[in-house]
Structure formats: structure tokens, C-alpha cells
Assembly symmetry: C2
Homo-oligomer: 317 residues x 2
């Protein structure tokens, strides 16, 4: 588990602004579970953070000054220059956003990487109306969008999460058909109560016990969308996998992993479809907003303690 | 692990033959790893064997007498009435075979269920020429056909197996590009030596350590054909799964299980394609033939001790 002493808040000078550059003030920055993997040394799917260098990650900001024709002061932009209050970048590293959406932190949630992750995950599999979908980590950034997207497809949706408040959030605000707190009892028992005839699709954000329960609950020809495994991100040694993995063979399951960054070519389609749901009010984006860059580390560590409902975001004011 | 005392050889009367029935003498019967699962009580993908009732399974026989117009004495047939020397059946439970193929045991091997299992497995995934394919249990009934089918697709093929003799069989007779004995050292090390740049497809007949090594060796967008898990069939308690299963997400892997019996509608296509390879001499079928029904139990138990090269078959003479 990361501790605050792993991080340092540093003050550096920004600038001066060169031709073809843009100065941005960040309004919100993202903290995400995947960043934990970047704190490990060694080869992985994404380059690690470097010691004594700034972290980075998703951010929403406002253009303060521009010497590039593509942007003017006041423009809203998303970038990967998070974990800082101001930065200078080239236009190619910025993406313009529509500022009429409020709060702009939604570009780090339903209309950002987590929303796109949920959308891409379902696009991997042919998920049909009437099917039973189980989402773990369901009140998280990706999970609460994934469950709502499954509802919009006409599925029956069950979510697991880690507190009574989050169970209410899923049922009452996100429209899940059933939700339970995995700390209340054996996960498979609770899942079986919620889905006595089994599940067709499992959207995995957690791994571990949730994956094992899903493998037991899945019906023949079921599908697993292997999105995340937050239960294992802070393990010093890799934990053993599920002992019932052979269900993949006997139940003819398909398990498929993906990385949202492989799908950036579909971003316009994502924004049209999921943005359309959001603007129509049929998809809610929930954020837990922490204020001040000095609290960013606490917000990040809080992800692994379940402190967020929906997307954990840091407001930089 | 099954022991001989779990089985009884019983003598019963066959007959008399009724109208629309056929009397068959079995020439060969199949013993297969999947039969181990049928010795467990409880719900599974296939009904369990019943205590004090005959076992069943694949068999090749010759019609001795017929009161059905579909068959005449001398016809060769396959059926699921294995584990016995003679039986009476309806025409619908028999499938006529071409007797010019020798030995007829090939209908329990390359041209039978194991061959079709290998063929269906590759049909699940888009396996392209030039890709690197790893097959575990490679000298087994399914494995040696799977490897040869991958070679026919233009793949580079690596097999793991359990003895030096089987390694030679894979390299010299089946045309594998590389093969190793998993007992000679850590599986992942040997696999990495054979495939230093990783693998694209893993055809899993074994589970356990082989699956864990494959998950490490697979490249981005790799695929796992989840066919069998013989390493776990005799475990009293389910063993933990691979600790590196999260590679499915980070490497965007697809893992897919299947049951050959779901594909019986494709049997004619299988016989045309794989039978064509066999008749042309471009696919070899290897059988380990044990004689006499009194040795069938030993042959079955021998499957879990690696006593077979290719398909284990019992000749009933």
C-alpha cells in the first residue's frame, strides 16, 4: 500500500511560453487505481513513474495563455498532465472540450477514461437485452458507468461494492436491479441470492474473490470482461488465482482483457454515444471530489480503501 | 487417483435382438481423461457414471447382426457404447464409418473425438500463419493432433510433454518445431528457451503450471484455447489458479473454453477437412493400444501417469 512518504509536493517554475505552446491551469486531476502499477519497477504494459520526476495522469484544465493558433485563453482542455497545477504543452497533447458541461470533472469520469473503459468493455462482448450482468467494484469510477450502460442495453444488473452507502447509491441512483456489500458475507452466497439462476456476463474490476464467485455463477456461454483487478494491486507477492478457473472450459466461457488506450481511435464514437446518454439524463456521472493538490496523495491512497463513490477527482483551486 | 478396486468387470447376457436393433461387437474402446470427471458425484457439464451400472464412452465396432435396414453385418460403426465387448443399439445411436482406414482405432483418435476437439479448438480463434503456438499435453490424444493442425496452418509449434521419448515423438514424428519435457526444469524457463520472443496462442490441455507459464509467455493480443486441465482432474481439493491471471487484462488476452459435443453439427466438415489431411498423409494419428477389456482400467489410470503416446485405446479381441 502506498504511503504519503512515497510522494513529495515540489514547487517548480513554469515557462517561459514558446511559440506553438499553450499554458494551462488545471482545474481537476484524476487519481486512478491503474497508477499503482506505475509505482512498480520493471516491465509492464505502461511505463513506470520515474523517481524524482513529476507523476502524470488525466486532467481537465483551462487555457491561460496561448502562442498556438489552435487554442485561446478560456478554452477547456483535457490532457495527461495531471498531478500539477499548471503546465505548458504543445497543442497535440491537448484535447478541446465543451465547457458547458458541469462540473468539468465529468471529463475525468463518465465522459473521460473511466466512462470510455466501461463502454469499450461492453463493446468487446455481445451483451444482449435480458442478460444478467454482474459488475464488481460497481460503485467505482468504471463500475457505476458499466452498470448503467448494461441497464441501457436492457440487462438485469447486479453490483458488488464495499459499504451500505454505496449499495444505496447503486440501487437508488444508478438503477442497479440488485447490489450488495461484499463485506456482509461470502460473495458467492450474496451473488447467488441476487442472481439465483446465474449470470451471463461478469464485468471484472476487482479480481480475487469476486472473480472466483463469478466463475461459479456464470452460465454456459458466459463472458468475462477482464477490466481491472484492484484487489491485487497492492499485494507484495502475487496471490493465487481462482481455484475454479476450469469452469472456463466446462461452461464454454470467454474471458477477454483490454486496455482502453488501444481504443482511442473510437473516442469520437464514444463521446457521441455516451455523451448523448449523459446529455439526455439517462446516464449519471458521480464524482468524489477532494480539494487541493496537497490532498491528491490522500485521494489516491483512498482509492484502495474504498473512500470514493464514483470517480475520485482532485479539484485544483 | 482412481484405483482398480473402483471398477468391476461384469458378465451379462446381450440380447435378444429386436426389430430395429443392431448387435455390435466392439473392436476398440476409448479411455479418456474427461471420464475422470464422470467419476465425481454432483452437478457437472456431463452426467456422472452411475454406481453398479456399466460405464460408457467412445467405441469402434463391427455389426454382427442387424434387424434394422440401416445396417448389415460387417458394417463398421462408432458409438458411445464403450467399456463393453458387445452391445445392442438402435440405428440412431450408431454412426457408419469407412472400414478401409487402418487401424480402425483412428476413429477414436485423429478422426474421432480427440481430433475433432483439436480442430474445434483452433476454429474458436483466428490462428494465423507465422504465429507461435504452444501446446501442453502435446503428446496426448488431442495435443499431438492440435500441434500438427497448427503446423498445417503455418504456425511455429512448441509442445510440452512428460518424457524424453515423447519429446522425440513430437519433434521427429509430428513435426513440432520445439518440444520439451516439463519434468526437466521450470516450465516457464523451458518455454522461454523454445520461444524467446513469446507465444501468440496457447492450446491448454493441462492447466496448472503450464497455464501459468503460458500466461507469462503470451504476447499482447494472445489467445488461450481452454481445452483441458488434466493436471487437476485427480485433485481432492481444487488447487489455486495461476497467480498471474491479471496478464489477461494487461496483455489483452482472450481465453475461451469449449466442449466438442457442442460442435457435432460440424462433424461432416471436420471429417472432410481433417480426414483429408489424414488420407493425404499430412496428419499422423498415433495410438497406444492396450489389449483386452480386462486391461481397460489399467489403460484408463495410465492416462494420468502419462503412459500413452497419442491416443490411449483398448483393443477388444
Amino acid at each position: 500500500m502506498p504511503i504519503p512518504a512515497n510522494f513529495t509536493l515540489a514547487h517548480t517554475e513554469v515557462g517561459p511560453l514558446q511559440d506553438e505552446q499553450v499554458l494551462v491551469r488545471n482545474l481537476f486531476m484524476s487519481v486512478d487505481p491503474y497508477m499503482r502499477g506505475r509505482m512498480n519497477d520493471g516491465h509492464s504494459y505502461i511505463e513506470p513513474f520515474m523517481l524524482n520526476k513529476p507523476l502524470d495522469g488525466g486532467a481537465v484544465g483551462e487555457v491561460i495563455a496561448s502562442r498556438a493558433k489552435e487554442f485561446k485563453p478560456g478554452d477547456g482542455v483535457t490532457s495527461n498532465f495531471g498531478w500539477r497545477e499548471y503546465f505548458i504543452a504543445s497543442p497535440k497533447d491537448l484535447r478541446q472540450i465543451i465547457c458547458e458541461v458541469h462540473p468539468l470533472s465529468v471529463y475525468l469520469s463518465a465522459l473521460g477514461m473511466p466512462g470510455m473503459t466501461a463502454w469499450v468493455g461492453f463493446n468487446l462482448m455481445d451483451v444482449k437485452s435480458g442478460e444478467v450482468v454482474f459488475v464488481s467494484g460497481a460503485a467505482g469510477a468504471v463500475g457505476h458507468i458499466a452498470g448503467q450502460l448494461a441497464k441501457l442495453r436492457g440487462c438485469r444488473v447486479i453490483g458488488s461494492t464495499g459499504s451500505a452507502g454505496k449499495v444505496s447509491f447503486l440501487r437508488d441512483e444508478c438503477g442497479f436491479d440488485a447490489a450488495f456489500n461484499y463485506k456482509d458475507g461470502p460473495l458467492l452466497e450474496q451473488l447467488t441470492l441476487a442472481a439465483p439462476d446465474g449470470i451471463d456476463v461478469y464485468f471484472d474490476n476487482v479480481g480475487g474473490e469476486a472473480l472466483e464467485a463469478a466463475l461459479s455463477a456464470l452460465r454456459v456461454n458466459g463472458r468475462i470482461i477482464a477490466c481491472g483487478g484492484i484487489s491485487g494491486y497492492n499485494e507484495e507477492k502475487p496471490r493465487p488465482g481462482p481455484s475454479n478457473l476450469f469452469n472456463i472450459t466446462t461452461k464454454r466461457l470467454t474471458m477477454k482483457g483490454f486496455m482502453v488506450r488501444d481504443w482511442l481511435g473510437h473516442q469520437a464514437e464514444f463521446e457521441k454515444i455516451v455523451g448523448g446518454y449523459f446529455r439526455a439524463g439517462s446516464l449519471k456521472s458521480r464524482e468524489t471530489i477532494v480539494s487541493g493538490i496537497e490532498n491528491a496523495v490522500g485521494a489516491f491512497i483512498g482509492l484502495f480503501q474504498g473512500q470514493n463513490i464514483g470517480k475520485m477527482v482532485v479539484e485544483l483551486t
